[in-house]
């Protein structure tokens, strides 16, 4: 990579962090957002705003680098932290938790968030942890229904009311 491209990539990364990613405090949300800028067929990243300012190559490199970073961050979260991340994401999705959990367990949409050249064991760990976090969330949802006094704690307070049995 020559010096000019390197500078452009760095500027594109700073721009991506400053304008977009800084508004997403959740690492899981950041990962899903960055992965959504990747074309499934070619594996190339596209972001209209970044491309207009920094060009196609620098924009794609910045997104690739941000994707690898976000993936590594989520893959190394503890199971407790990942479960909280998942709860926040469910809350933001505005979908009923039971429906969300059911579709994530069956369709496994989280697999599309994996970077192309990620370490296979890190990928294995990521998938394993997401599946476990889904199972933990499902378990907590069931126990909360049986005993509302142990209902999910913050930051899932918004979700809490939606986890109560419908009367």
């Amino acid at each position: 990579m020559n010096k000019q491209v390197e500078t452009e990539v760095k500027a594109a990364m700073d721009d991506l962090r400053g304008r977009t990613l800084s508004r997403m405090p959740s690492p899981l949300e950041r990962l899903i957002y960055i992965a959504s800028t990747r074309d499934y067929n070619s594996g190339r990243y596209h972001h209209a705003g970044l491309e207009a300012r920094f060009g196609v190559v620098a924009s794609a490199d910045a997104l690739l680098s941000a994707h690898n970073g976000a993936f590594a961050e989520v893959a190394s979260l503890s199971l407790g932290q990942l479960t909280e991340e998942l709860l926040i994401y469910i809350q933001k999705s505005r979908e009923r938790p039971e429906v969300f959990l059911g579709s994530w367990q069956k369709l496994e949409p989280f697999r599309v968030t994996i970077p192309l050249h990620a370490d296979p064991i890190l990928v294995d760990l990521f998938i394993s942890n997401i599946k476990l976090a889904l199972a933990v969330t499902k378990y907590r949802l069931r126990t909360d229904r049986r005993d509302p006094s142990t209902a999910l704690q913050a930051p899932s307070l918004g979700l809490r009311s939606r986890l109560q049995p419908h009367s």
Binding site: A72, S76, G80, H117, L122, L132, A135
Partner: protein, 172 residues
Amino acid sequence: MTILSVVAALALFLILAAILAQSSSRSSAKLLAADLDSRELSPDCARSSEQILGRVFSDEDLRFVEGLGSAELTIALRTERKRLAVRWIYRTADEAKEIVRKHLQMASKAQDLRVTGELRLGLRYLELRLLCGCLVVLVDCFGPAKLRGMAARAENSIASLRAFSGLVETSG
């Protein structure tokens, strides 16, 4: 006597068929895994190895799941972590084998071999293989959560083997 011969021939035929079936399934598995194998030993793997080690050989997640009070979840976590730990150990052992294989290839052409350096490499390799063998057995018996120290030692050994091979490659 004739019946005995027929039974023996049939048994031999079955053994041969089983061997042929096994070798063909092994070669097709190899074909499908070819890409994965080459990625498994890429330099990026070395970077994420510590990350994997920190999560898989840690008891933090086990304590979290045990706190939930679900035996099913605890068993699921233990099984998953055991599987991941064994995969990491085998990859570490494979990487060491690959480093030594490459080194032996280069050493066979080298003019200025240093005996102490070669001996040190050999001992480090043997120590790592022994460590990996013990880790597989211990992980299988007790799970990876309490074996972080041993796994970290294996990681240090593979890191020094990597550094050694890098040093030889740049000087050669």
